[in-house]
């Protein structure tokens, strides 16, 4: 069940079921359990028959499957899959099946369990492949549990727990969020925090293994959504993340000493990251069109600065068929210790990276998605995205999704 707003064809499309809608539904379900028993006169039909409910108890109310394949091709200096002094291959194929199950525990508590599975075939992503060529494929699996609790009509608490495990890497995280609806549900204020802990093998670029290393991250977010008009929603957010520990990708390498050798990547021990974002969505009822625009500015203590501008167009082609076109432009000023040739006279204690993700570049992404809303609460979608950037990397992403509600 989804509540939809005129400005929210996006929600109607099932692309993004809003937290507020779900909260409102949960609130009503909670009220129902206390009020339905208060009416005692004879009924011409039972409540359960009219409402089509078999039980108010725990039940699975949502099920989604998604298969995404991500193929990238390009070259980066951090990769050893090339010459000593030049960039190496960044070719990678990632296939990610994902399953989501929504569980209604009772009228006030709802859970979502997500199980993503990554299957990675890579020339440079997997450290073991780079240094030993022992395997061409790497698998990763995790589980995420997000729970929502209605505290009052206007207040909601969320929690999430996540665990991820793959070949030389394990990660766990937990977080809490609080949302408060204001101004007759026309505004929503949210605050959330998350802690993440990673533990991984310290694999050097030459293949040596030096025990285990850790890193951790603390993240906080503040978000305000405001209904500006019946067809316009504005949203602003700020996020702050503090990371510490072994932040580098330990098997990444940097060409050094005039191209005669490579040394390992080295990062500062901590990093503070900031991001502000503003988004607006405008719905045009006459044409069943929704336009979304967003701008994001990112900065951190590695002196990385990034601007992202994004546009999305959602258009109903037929009553049950929606097309979504998207465009994203991204411009990044690289970290101040990026280099493709580490000088011989510099101290090896200095931070350095040749990772193309941290270089200066401009990127664009075009996307097209078709969503078919089947009868009942089922939906099917198929999407294609093409990403490319001006420092030698491009990616093609295909996705296929199925969703059902009960």
């Amino acid at each position: 069940m989804r509540t939809e707003s005129r400005q929210g064809v996006v929600v109607a499309a099932g692309i993004d079921t809003s937290k507020r809608s779900r909260r409102r539904l949960l609130r009503l379900l909670w009220c129902a359990s206390s009020c339905v028993a208060a009416v005692g006169h004879a009924d011409p039909a039972s409540d359960a028959a009219i409402l089509g409910q078999s039980s108010e108890g725990p039940r699975v109310d949502e099920f989604r499957l998604r298969l995404t394949s991500y193929y990238q091709e390009g070259h980066g200096y951090q990769s050893k899959a090339g010459t000593l002094a030049g960039p190496g291959s960044e070719r990678s194929l990632i296939v990610q099946p994902m399953m989501l199950v929504g569980i209604r525990q009772n009228a006030r508590i709802h859970h979502e369990v997500v199980v993503p599975v990554d299957i990675v075939s890579a020339a440079s992503v997997n450290a073991l492949d780079v240094v030993s060529h022992a395997s061409a494929v790497n698998e990763a699996i995790g589980v995420e549990l997000t729970s929502r609790f209605d505290l009052t009509d206007d207040d909601q608490l969320t929690s999430n727990l996540a665990w991820h495990e793959e070949e030389p890497f394990g990660s766990g995280s937990f977080g809490l969020g609080y949302g408060h609806a204001m101004a007759d549900d026309n505004a929503l204020l949210g605050i959330s925090g998350q802690a993440t802990f990673d533990r991984f093998d310290y694999l050097q670029s030459n293949g040596d293994r030096h025990g285990r290393r850790n890193r951790s991250a603390l993240n906080g977010n503040l978000n305000l959504s405001q209904l500006l008009s019946p067809t316009t929603v504005f949203d602003a957010s700020y996020g702050l993340t503090f990371q510490q520990g072994t932040l580098e990708t330990t098997y990444n390498s940097v060409p050094a000493f005039g191209g005669t050798s490579r040394i390992g990547e080295r990062f500062p021990h901590s990093r503070t990251r900031n991001a502000v974002q503003a988004r607006v969505a405008q719905h045009f009822p006459e044409t069943h069109t929704t336009l979304r625009a967003a701008y994001r500015y990112y900065w951190d203590t590695f002196q990385l600065r990034a601007h992202t501008t994004e546009f999305e167009l959602h258009q109903y082609l037929f009553p049950r068929l929606i097309v979504r076109g998207s465009f994203r432009y991204y411009a990044q000023a690289g970290v101040d210790f990026f280099t493709t040739a580490f000088p011989a006279h510099e101290s090896l204690l200095l931070p350095r990276t040749a990772d193309s993700d941290l270089a200066e570049f401009h990127a664009q992404e075009y996307g097209l998605k078709l969503l078919w809303l089947a009868r009942g609460q089922s939906s099917l979608d198929i999407g294609y995205f093409h990403y490319f950037r001006d420092n030698g990397l491009y990616a093609n992403v295909f996705s296929f999704g199925y969703g059902g509600g009960f």
Binding site: P44, A49, L228, T232, A278, P285, H288, A293, H307, L373
Partner: protein, 161 residues
Amino acid sequence: MRSCLWLLLCFVGCASNRPPVARAAVLPAVELTRVNGGGESLKAALGGSVAVIDLWATWCTACEQQRPKLERLHEAYFARGLHVIGLDVGETPSVLNAYLAAHRTSYPIYLDPDFRVADALGEKRLPTLLVIDREGRIIRRSPALDAQTLATIKALLAPAP
């Protein structure tokens, strides 16, 4: 990049020209448009009965999922004086008629192509159910026909002690 930011700010500025609508506490004096043309006042359409107004649209999947419940509600309580009406919001007669040709409803459907009635009712979300008492007061607003909404309807229909 700067031009993108200006475009975004312009977008927000333009959008804010239309303020959110105020919520009505009683039925407003507005005219409904019948599917086959012609008008009828909202109050006359409800005839002083306990009523449920379903604001919906053909593209709204959540509205469609709710329709069987409303059909059963209408069937069960019409004889006891409940009036259920549907108000198709923001769509043209041709779109609605094409839809109704394939999806028959047992309760009356009206049109609100320019959001005039929805704005007068103070509603901006679909689906929304309004529960109206015999005096024309809006007793409950709900995004779904849930147990509490049904309990409210039954309480309004119950004979006075």
